[in-house]
């Protein structure tokens, strides 16, 4: 159905161990350009590991991962190349504390794309405006709220012009009143058509933007379905058990 050049990420038979622990089991996953995936599952099921494998923050022991047609080599060969096409947003924001918001956004483009300071600044301002935080450009991360920091982290990733954005529970470390501003930012991104994979338990977000919801348990993909099906008529027992747990929460 999908043509080769419409595929952004292709994972085939990916296996990953931490020592003796088998954390990812035969993961097959194809993500098309412009597609929005939501990944959910119990804690420890391997969601973070899966998306961290996509930009080679974790090494895999079996299978292949391809991003934009570039295959990730063994031992992370080609990793820097692939990472430039993949933006990542972490649960803990991971902004650089010694750099201002603007500098956080300018560092990687300047070092990697070797663009001028002025160009990097323009680009940073553009994306900071997009996440509605440009007026805080001169501040340091510690001077911002969690929600603001996470929006800066999103802008920082966007400055590299990624083909795909990965989000690992971007709202889990936030105070409840800040969740919405970050989710709204992500919905805005989705509306622009960027490809994204998001680990989250925010089911409202999943309903609003996901093309497919993927449920993982114990290192396996158990079920994949569009949100209406996924929430309405889940096929698998484990999915139902999981859903009843988080929805009654």
């Amino acid at each position: 159905m999908t043509t080769q050049n419409n595929t952004t990420i292709r994972m085939s038979a990916v296996n990953k161990w931490f020592g003796k622990m088998h954390v990812l089991r035969d993961i097959d996953l194809t993500v098309n350009k412009g597609e929005h995936l939501v990944l959910c599952g119990p804690s420890g099921s391997g969601k973070s590991t899966l998306i961290r494998c996509i930009n080679a923050l974790e090494e895999i022991q079996g299978g292949t991962i391809e991003v934009n047609g570039n295959q990730l080599g063994k031992k992370g060969a080609n990793a820097d190349h692939i990472r430039r096409d993949v933006g990542m947003v972490f649960q803990q924001f991971n902004l650089f504390p010694h750099l201002t918001v603007l500098q956080n956004c300018m560092l990687a483009p300047r070092r990697i794309h070797r663009i001028s300071e002025a160009e990097a600044r323009d680009k940073a301002m553009h994306f900071l405006e997009q996440v509605h935080i440009a007026e805080h450009g001169h501040k340091y991360p510690a001077q911002l709220s969690g929600g603001q920091q996470q929006r800066v982290a999103i802008a920082r990733a966007l400055c590299m012009g990624p083909q795909v954005m990965l989000f690992d529970e971007p709202t889990s470390a936030l105070d409840p009143e800040m969740v919405k501003e970050v989710l709204d930012t992500m919905i805005g991104l989705a509306d622009q058509g960027i490809t994204m994979i998001c680990v989250t338990h925010e089911m409202g977000f999943a309903r609003a933007v996901a093309h497919r919801v993927i449920f993982m348990d114990r290192g396996e993909i158990i079920e994949t379905a569009p949100p209406t099906e996924f929430f309405g008529t889940p096929r698998h027992d484990r999915t139902r058990a999981f859903l009843s747990q988080i929805l009654n929460h």
Partner: protein
């Protein structure tokens, strides 16, 4: 009762001033070189190659578990046997540099280890190379975390320069010994000398604090 007489000591103030300048000079050069070499050692100490790690650990522990004075003698008197003939000043600076790099390496390593893994991963995820990640992301917060220990170490090193007088390197203590030989006012000479070192260490402390506030300060929670 002993008659204190500080006049002959103060009359020789030119010698003391020149000596103090030499002490500052030796210290500053050795600190700068020691910092660079210490960072190289830290990189070796944390390298993925086991051989590099072993070399770095061996070097660091050898230096930290032997007296500076013996290191000075080893370099100044011993190295000519291996064909490396240095004058007193060169030997002093070389030994100081070798010595302080080992201490600095240990301090910097604990600074690097205090940086959260997420910081490094965020740099990686942006596609930055490992050297760039350490240079632009890890370095400043790591040094900031250990800056007070680094400053104490620098001051200890400055005080350590007093030992290179033993190979006739012409710094502050050497100047004092010359005055002592001329005046026989030992206690007065060393009393004034101690006061000068005390002032120098305060000045170093102030200067290093200023550098710290300029380069290593940013708001934290």
């Amino acid at each position: 009762m002993y008659d204190f007489d500080f006049a002959p000591v103060f009359q020789a103030w030119r010698l003391l001033a020149a000596g103090a300048w030499a002490t500052v000079y030796i210290s500053a050069i050795s600190m700068a070189l020691g910092l660079v070499f210490g960072i190289v050692l830290t990189a070796m100490r944390m390298a993925p190659v086991a051989a590099l790690r072993s070399i770095a650990i061996g070097y660091i522990e050898l230096i930290r578990n032997t007296p500076f004075l013996v290191q000075v003698f080893f370099i100044y008197f011993g190295m000519p046997e291996l064909g490396l003939r240095l004058n007193a000043m060169e030997a002093a600076i070389l030994t100081m540099t070798l010595n302080c790099s080992a201490y600095i390496a240990e301090i910097v390593r604990s600074g690097v280890e205090s940086i959260r893994k997420g910081q490094i991963e965020a740099g990686r995820a942006l596609g930055m190379s490992t050297p760039d990640v350490y240079r632009f992301i890890v370095f400043r917060p790591a040094i900031r975390a250990v800056y007070p220990s680094l400053c104490s170490q620098f001051i200890l090193m400055m005080l350590n320069t007093s030992l290179v007088a033993s190979i006739s390197a012409q710094e502050l203590t050497y100047a004092a010994q010359m005055i002592d030989n001329q005046t026989f006012r030992s206690f007065e000479v060393y009393f004034v000398l101690g006061a000068i070192y005390l002032i120098l260490s305060q000045l170093f402390s102030l200067g290093l604090g200023l550098i710290g506030r300029t380069y290593f300060s940013y708001p934290t929670k």
